[in-house]
Symmetry: none
Subunit: 411 residues, 2 copies
């Protein structure tokens, strides 16, 4: 079964709101194994709405339309759909009294305009709406299915979950399961070069790379008649991927890098303190966003000035003078310093040039030194990061967390 999603609303065309309904429906259909080949948005305009519906119905078996079911003159979806399908609109007295009950409950008189929400194309079924006045509408006609759902997300989402998805289950093609591998420390093109053959060979399960806000991910998706079969397919492909790029995979599905780090520290009984300079608190902020982080994370020092590096971390003034605040030597001294001050198993430090100013030939914008002190050893990492101040800082923080992850894992 092929589906299209059509959203109706001038506020979407003007960019006043972001189209979360389409994503919500698309995700639900993907879970059912129903393919979505196109998503469209049109405004509250009769001609353009009609054309768009006609085109979609030529291509798709299932058309889900959101928005334009309200009581105002702008709301045209019900009318135009009836026209396109060649149906009359008929008053449904049960819906009308349902709307009346709704207004009685909120103690507001019903407007005359709400009457139009009680009309359905002949042969259509209403889809109950516990959160608003307009029911959804389901029509099965000429081997096509058309559904109209209200625009407000708090009406649409429960209606979709509780009524639309169960109805569509009969059209679901087996089971579709996905697993996301979260990756850090390699670029998209490098990753693809390392697993290109897997991406190209595989159709079921399929594997696809995405560059998301939180970093690179690989999504493995399997379609099967039974869940256990889909799981086995995913596991087998995941193993192949891990054999190639396993060291860069820090977690699966919704696991964040900081959650993985906190979990790993807990499992080993380690504690971590951090001395941050260019990241200014980002590492602390991300670690402490993990519930229960306090067990492993007592202290972080944001030693932004040279004086604070000297006074609080015991970094020598001379060292900063001769090697520079952004150097391997200073990073190492900071890591040892914070480990000592906090009395933790591990001490992580980060110092760098986040820009846009402050760069020199020797220490350009993007240069970051990261050091990790633990068990008498020192790990050091030097990175040249690209992008604006915000990106450099976020990547620097992630590299720091990833260094901790790898160090703990190797123990």
């Amino acid at each position: 079964m092929n589906a299209e999603i059509l959203s109706v609303g001038t506020e979407l065309l003007l960019g006043d709101i972001v189209n979360t309904n389409t994503q919500y429906i698309a995700k639900g259909l993907a879970e059912l194994g129903i393919n979505v080949y196109r998503q469209s948005v049109v405004g509250d305009n009769r001609n353009r709405l009609r054309k768009s519906m006609e085109e979609s119905l030529q291509r798709a078996d299932l058309l889900i339309i959101t928005g334009g079911l309200g009581p105002t003159k702008d709301d045209l979806t019900r009318e135009v759909a009836a026209e396109v399908l060649g149906k009359q609109l008929v008053l449904d007295p049960d819906i009308l009294s349902g709307i009346q009950v709704f207004f009685d409950r909120i103690k507001v008189p019903m407007e005359k305009s709400n009457h139009k929400q009680a009309y359905l194309p002949e042969g259509a079924f209403p889809i109950e709406n516990p959160n608003g006045t307009s029911p959804g509408i389901l029509i099965e006609a000429e081997e096509k299915i058309v559904m109209m759902l209200p625009g407000p997300p708090r009406e649409l989402q429960p209606m979709f979950d509780n009524q639309v998805k169960p109805y569509l289950t009969k059209y679901a093609q087996g089971i579709v399961k996905s697993k996301v591998l979260n990756i850090f420390g390699m670029g998209e093109s490098t990753m693809e070069a390392m697993i290109e053959d897997l991406i190209e060979e595989q159709h079921n399960p399929s594997i696809a790379p995405y560059c998301m806000e939180q970093g690179l991910i690989l999504r493995i998706t399997a379609r099967a008649q039974e869940e256990s079969v889909a799981d086995a397919m995913i596991n087998s492909l995941e193993k192949k991927v891990r054999d190639r790029i396993g060291e860069y995979i820090y977690g699966v599905d919704h696991e964040s890098l900081e959650a993985v780090v906190v979990k790993a520290l807990k499992s080993k009984g380690y504690t971590l303190s951090v001395a941050e300079s260019c990241t200014g608190g980002l590492i602390g902020a991300s670690i402490t966003n993990v519930p229960g982080a306090s067990e492993v994370f007592p202290l972080s020092l944001v030693t932004y000035s040279d004086a604070s590096k000297v006074n609080l971390l015991g970094v020598s003034k001379d060292l900063i003078k001769t090697q520079g605040a952004v150097s391997k030597e200073t990073a190492v001294a900071m890591a040892k310093g914070v480990q000592k001050v906090a009395g933790t198993t591990m001490g992580l430090s980060i110092t760098g040039i986040a820009g846009p100013g402050g760069g020199t030939d020797k220490t350009p914008v993007g240069l970051v030194h990261i050091a990790l002190a633990f068990e008498g050893k020192i790990l050091h990492m030097e990175k040249n990061l690209l992008g604006d101040r915000n990106r450099i800082r976020h990547f620097a923080a992630k590299h720091g967390l990833d260094l901790v992850r790898k160090a703990v894992k190797e123990q």
Copy 2:
């Protein structure tokens, strides 16, 4: 001029991500008075992408396409657009060497796959991309304009703002100017109640509230033939708004709360240190995201454990025992402690229960104590914040910054 926006990416069809690019572009076009009649999404599929482009070009004068410009085999936008417009793809050596420079800077070898990002349809112009490897592409052909922009928002947004919008200005109908008022410390419905009449009366200039990721904003938009007229219209309405809710407006347009705070501290010659508990570094991270913050911000201590509050800030063990780590008394001692350790004009502290665990009847999840020590005085604020851990922490950090903003302003 009529425009359409076409987003390319299977991750959108699957509902993996929400389509924020389309909203961003739609909003920008609306500001220029360019009508958008349709928005579409198709996957990484050659045939469907071609059909969609052809249809859009029949309807629209301007087609903006996002996504599918990456280096992988899935990325088809460049190729398919050339095909639809009947153009050859030609290697642009300048772009190729630009990509090479990008990889040299990050010290990663360039993959062969990246070469394809250096190809342009003949007669097309590259649009510079300071934040990634793929340039945007501009083609003017047969009275149509086609633009292809990269999918990642952090590449697309600056490209759209700095290059696409200025280019499109010549097609703008009159001048549309907007000013954004950034607001903190009041809820959306409260704000609306205080300026409801202004929102309803005003059409040009219009005023509209939005609840954005970074907080509440009011957008004033004026349309006029000349810029000076639009400015005057905006200023007059802004004054009316400020008379009502001025104390909650911390900045305009892209000014962040932390940038306003850093600027205010600089102008007074003040310095600030922070002792963070529940926010775990968020305040430090946001302040240090402002270029030049080092002048006013030498140090922040993330004293997450009680022991670190005692050892580093000199908070008395007894005080924590009798009053609790989340109390006015501890917050005050932390603020005084960090002010002393760092030797700064101001010392800010924050301690609270971010949840989801750790709440009690006396100190429920969401309770936050904030204290600011300066010039021998103490300001204290107690807040009961709602939401999940992430929201509580971000709001707590913002309240802390806002306390500093107000305190500096009153000097």
